[in-house]
C-alpha cells in the first residue's frame, strides 16, 4: 500500500456492545495516501491499534467492490460519505483534504441496533424480505428466459429496482429512519415483472406489515434516501408501493 502525506483526525464511534453506552473517540492518522479507499484507511488505523495492544474498530465490509451492501459508515453526517452513488468501500481518501477531521458513526435506527462500534444488526431487512420478497415457481428445468415477452422499459425499471444492495443507507439518512425506499425497491423488482404478479398484492401487504413491525419510521417524502442511495434507487418505487398497498387493501378481495 502506497504511503501518502495526508494527516487526518478521526472521530470514531466506539461501543462495546448493544448494552453499553458508546462515545466518539479521537484518533490521529499520519501519512495516509489519497489513493486509499476509506476502508483501507480504517485498516491502517486498526493495524496501529493492534500494534498498540488496543481493540481494533469493528466495522462491516465484505466485497469492497460496491456490490455486496455490507459497508455501512455514516461519514461526516452522510451515509457512505460525501460522494454520490458510491458505497463506503468505493469512497477514496482523495475525496478528503489533508488536515480534515472526519466523524464516523454507525447507522442509527431502532430497527438497526448497534452490535459493536460501527457494526449494526440489519437482519430486520432479511425479515422484511422473508415476509414476501419472493416468487413461487415450479421445480424442474428453468423456462426459456424469453418465454414471457416483457417490454424493455418495464424490464429496465425492474432491473433498476433490483440494483438495491440492501445496505440501509436510506434508513440511516432518513430523518425518520424509514425503510420505505428499501422495501419499495424489493416490492417493485417483482411487481414490475409477470413472474411477480400472482403474489403481488399479498406481497405488498406482508412486507409493509413486517416493515412496520420492525419499528422503522414513516416516509415524509424528503427525498434524502434517493439522494444518498449508492445505487440510485428512485422514489418512484415508493409511489408504486403506496399504489399497490392501496389497491391491495381497498380493491383486491384477497386479505392477508
Amino acid at each position: 500500500m502506497s504511503t501518502g502525506n495526508m494527516n487526518l483526525t478521526l472521530k470514531v464511534w466506539r461501543q462495546k456492545d448493544n448494552k453499553t453506552k458508546g462515545a466518539l473517540v479521537d484518533y490521529k492518522l499520519a501519512d495516509i495516501s489519497p489513493d486509499m479507499s476509506f476502508l483501507e484507511m480504517f485498516d491502517v488505523l486498526n493495524e496501529q491499534l493492534i500494534n498498540k495492544g488496543e481493540e481494533p474498530v469493528v466495522f462491516d465490509h465484505d466485497c469492497r467492490e460496491g456490490i455486496c451492501g455490507m459497508c455501512s459508515m455514516f461519514i461526516n453526517g452522510r451515509p457512505h460519505g460525501p460522494k454520490d452513488l458510491v458505497t463506503t468501500c468505493q469512497l477514496h481518501m482523495r475525496s478528503f483534504k489533508d488536515g480534515d477531521t472526519i466523524v464516523v458513526e454507525p447507522w442509527r435506527a431502532a430497527a438497526f441496533p448497534v452490535v459493536k462500534d460501527l457494526t449494526v444488526d440489519r437482519s430486520a431487512f432479511d425479515r422484511v424480505i422473508a415476509a414476501g420478497g419472493f416468487i413461487s415457481v415450479n421445480t424442474g428445468n428453468a423456462q426459456d428466459a424469453n418465454n414471457l415477452p416483457i417490454p424493455k422499459m418495464q424490464a429496465d425499471a425492474a432491473f433498476e429496482a433490483a440494483a438495491c444492495i440492501g445496505c440501509g443507507a436510506c434508513v440511516a439518512t432518513c430523518k425518520n429512519a424509514s425503510a420505505m425506499l428499501f422495501v419499495s425497491a424489493k416490492i417493485s423488482q417483482l411487481a414490475l415483472l409477470p413472474q411477480g404478479q400472482p403474489e403481488r398484492y399479498r406481497r405488498v401487504q406482508s412486507m409493509v406489515a413486517q416493515m412496520d413491525a420492525e419499528g422503522f419510521g414513516n416516509c415524509t417524502n424528503t427525498g434524502a434516501c434517493e439522494a444518498e442511495c449508492p445505487k440510485g434507487i428512485s422514489l418512484e418505487n415508493i409511489a408504486r408501493m403506496n399504489r399497490d398497498f392501496a389497491t391491495a387493501k381497498f380493491i383486491s378481495e384477497e386479505t392477508v
Partner: protein, 226 residues
C-alpha cells in the same frame, strides 16, 4: 369492515390519511383565498360581504365546515402520531447530521411549520370565525349584509397582528411547497409524464396562495384599499 385489516393504521395507511386530508385542505385554501380576494375590488367590501354572507348561510357550505374541521383535526392528529413514531424509530441521534446535503430544510421541518400554522389558526379563528359565527358582526354594509370587511379593517389596524399574519404566511408557503408535491407522491401519483407539472403547479400554488393571503393585512394596513 372486515377485510380492510390494518389498512389505515399501517405506515402507508397513515400516510394516505395525511395525503388525502392535505389535498382537501389545499382545495379549501383555493376557495378561501378566492373569496377573500374580493376585498381587492376596493368596493368598500360590498362583494366580499356578499361572499361571506353566502358562506355563512348556505347549508352545503355550513355542512362542509364540519368536514373541514374534521379534516384539519385528522391531519393534525395523524401528524402528531407519525412524528411520535418517527422519533421512536431513531432513539439515539447522530453527532453530525448533514441534512442539507440531500434534502430541503422545509421538507424536514413540516412538523415545525405545521405547529406555527396551528398557532396562526388559533389566532385567526379567534379574530374572524368566532366573531362571524358566535359573538356577531356589529355593523351591516350598504347592501344590508353583515359587514365582515369592517371587522377585517379594524383587526388589521394593529401592526403586530399584520406582521404576525405575514410571517406566518411564509411558514404556510414552505409547508405547501413541500406538502403539495408530497401529497401526490404519497397517493402514488408519480408518473414521468406528470411529475414536472405537479412540481411546477405545487410551487406556483404555494407562492400565489401565500402572497394573496399576506397581501390582505398589508393592503388594509397601508390603506392600499379602503
Amino acid at each position: 369492515m372486515s377485510g380492510f385489516g390494518n389498512a389505515l393504521s399501517s405506515s402507508i395507511g397513515r400516510k394516505y390519511v395525511m395525503g388525502i386530508t392535505g389535498i382537501f385542505l389545499i382545495l379549501f385554501l383555493i376557495v378561501h383565498a378566492g373569496i377573500n380576494s374580493l376585498i381587492f375590488l376596493d368596493d368598500n367590501g360590498l362583494k366580499f360581504n356578499i361572499g361571506a354572507h353566502f358562506m355563512a348561510t348556505n347549508w352545503i357550505i355550513r355542512a362542509g365546515e364540519y368536514i373541514l374541521f374534521l379534516g384539519l383535526l385528522v391531519h393534525i392528529y395523524q401528524a402528531v402520531n407519525l412524528t411520535i413514531q418517527n422519533k421512536k424509530a431513531r432513539p439515539e441521534g447522530y453527532a453530525v447530521y448533514n441534512g442539507s446535503a440531500n434534502s430541503k430544510w422545509y421538507s424536514r421541518s413540516m412538523g415545525l411549520l405545521g405547529t406555527l400554522l396551528l398557532i396562526f389558526l388559533v389566532i385567526h379563528l379567534k379574530d374572524f370565525w368566532v366573531v362571524s359565527r358566535f359573538t356577531g358582526i356589529p355593523t351591516v354594509d350598504a347592501n344590508g349584509n353583515e359587514d365582515l370587511y369592517a371587522v377585517m379593517k379594524e383587526k388589521f389596524q394593529d401592526p403586530v397582528r399584520v406582521v404576525a399574519y405575514v410571517l406566518l404566511m411564509i411558514s404556510l408557503c414552505y409547508h405547501l411547497l413541500h406538502g403539495f408535491a408530497s401529497a401526490f407522491q404519497t397517493m402514488g401519483w408519480n408518473h414521468s409524464k406528470y411529475n414536472g407539472i405537479i412540481k411546477r403547479v405545487g410551487v406556483w400554488y404555494a407562492i400565489i396562495i401565500s402572497i394573496v393571503f399576506a397581501l390582505m393585512p398589508i393592503a388594509v394596513y397601508t390603506h392600499l384599499i379602503d
